[in-house]
């Protein structure tokens, strides 16, 4: 049987994730020194965008993976087991608008609907639906802060850790939708067929 394969998120979570794996006895030196390589078959590590982790784990291309709760909430129809809150990469999903005028309230009052730009369309739609407000979601792929500044939307839904990027673009947080930290997830078949390996890793991660 091949080595247990772990999907590791690139980007902001990567360094912390590698430290975590290192701390439970998985050698990650080669991953750290080889930024362009994606598949480390000998180590059982694959690196990818955080938002691709659930896809690889659901299909079984990776047995387990690490990614943010924000990603899992957005892709909630993916059939993966969420096993452990790793506590890494804490951040908050927020609604933000331009600092000096509340264009979102104005749009809701005047038009009864607010345009919201986001990389998380399902999370944003659900939040506005649950709070009883009509919303028009505008999906963008990056630099969401630009949307209210240029009139594409009145508000944004985005993930923030320190709020610095929002502040620098003249935006303020109006609502908190939820906290997010990194989670350990597992493929539904691997979860039952590779019990010993997965439970051993879980135990070491819990004991940290």
């Amino acid at each position: 049987m091949r080595k247990l394969r772990i999907a590791v998120p690139r980007g902001a979570l990567m360094a912390e994730t590698l430290d975590l794996l290192e701390s439970v006895g998985i050698d990650t030196a080669e991953v750290r020194t080889n930024d362009r390589k994606l598949l480390f078959a000998d180590l059982g590590i694959i690196t990818m965008r955080p938002s691709d982790v659930p896809t690889y784990v659901e299909s079984g291309a990776a047995d387990i993976g690490i990614t943010g709760k924000d990603v899992l909430a957005e892709q909630s129809s993916k059939s993966v087991y969420e096993l452990l809150d790793l506590g890494l990469g804490a951040c908050t999903m927020v609604v933000a608008t331009i600092a000096d005028d509340d264009s979102m309230e104005e749009a809701l009052r005047h038009l009864g609907v607010v345009r919201v730009a986001t990389k998380y369309p399902r999370t944003a739609a659900k939040h506005f639906e649950q709070t009883g407000r009509q919303v028009e979601i505008v999906e963008v792929k990056g630099s969401v802060e630009l949307a209210p500044l240029t009139g594409l939307a009145e508000a944004i839904v985005d993930l923030t850790a320190t709020g610095t990027t929002l502040r620098e673009n003249g935006l303020v947080v109006r609502e908190e939708i939820g906290r997010s930290t990194a989670r350990l997830i597992a493929n539904p078949v691997a979860y039952r067929t590779r019990v010993t390996e997965i439970d051993a890793l879980l135990e070491r991660l819990r004991a940290r």
Binding site: M1, E58, S59, G60, A61, K69, S76, S77, S79, V80, Y81, E82, L83, L84, D85, R183, N187, P188, V189, A190, Y191, R192, T193, V195, D199
Partner: protein, 318 residues
Amino acid sequence: MIFPTPSGTRDVLPEEMRELRAISERLLGVFTDAGYGEIYTPAIEYEDVLQLGATGVDPAYRVFDERGNVLALRQDMTVPIARVAATRYEGVEPPFRFCYMAHSYRAVQPHRGQMREFLQAGVELIGAPAPEGTAETLTMIARSLDAIGLADYSIALGSSALLGALLRGFGVDDERHAPVLQELAMRDFVSLGQALLDLGLSPKDERFIADILQTRGGPEVLSDLPGEAEQSVLGLRQVYERLSEDVAGRIVFDLGLNRGLGYYTGAIFEVLHPSLGAPIGGGGRYDDLLARFGRDLPAVGFALGVDMVHLAIAGQEQ
């Protein structure tokens, strides 16, 4: 010009069809040799009849007939067979053994590779209570997969009643179970832990329940359980004791197993193969379903996805 078929449907060409046909015939051969009679039911039925199943998966494709009745494509074979058994075998002494090779239809989400139309090979054993009926069904799964030469498969065995029993044991009434059951159905153990704490359970009791639900492994995991929990897995142990050695060797207990479908009442199972990321089949007990059609009989069954089984065989040959 390209004339596509709807997403989630596909043509099968002769080379693959030969292989699928060979698998189907072997499976049906095993079922009928064991006394399961092959059954046909219409793919399209009255929607309110299908809805009686309360499967949690609604029929996805509906049309009006010439009189304004709503017809729907069946979402599985268990509900139509429950209807047949309850209504067409009046006065006949159970148990009834049925098998089928039939297509069912479900809604799909975009870009997920899910099938709208899928072929299942399955059996329904009606009027045979636990544990004997359950053991017979598990044996049928093993016999049919052995017959088509699939190695390395395992059968996850759990109980849809376990979490409810554990919660009642901690004094949580049935009407407060929903949030916890919901998180188990979502396979989210992090939120499940939180939902337990929200019910007022102590962190120690939360850990106790969460640990049980994350228990997987051989029969030894049943004996390692704390006393209070052991009672709720008694049914699983009784099933296991009735399995022959080779079938028992395929069983992986999964005490947090959840199948999503609403009609399951006791033991539930999923068939797993290491070459595929999703189960190749599943089933369980549905002791209340027949009563909804007017005849109160315990029942159990399973279905194998024929395409999934085919992929698993292809995966093992690589």
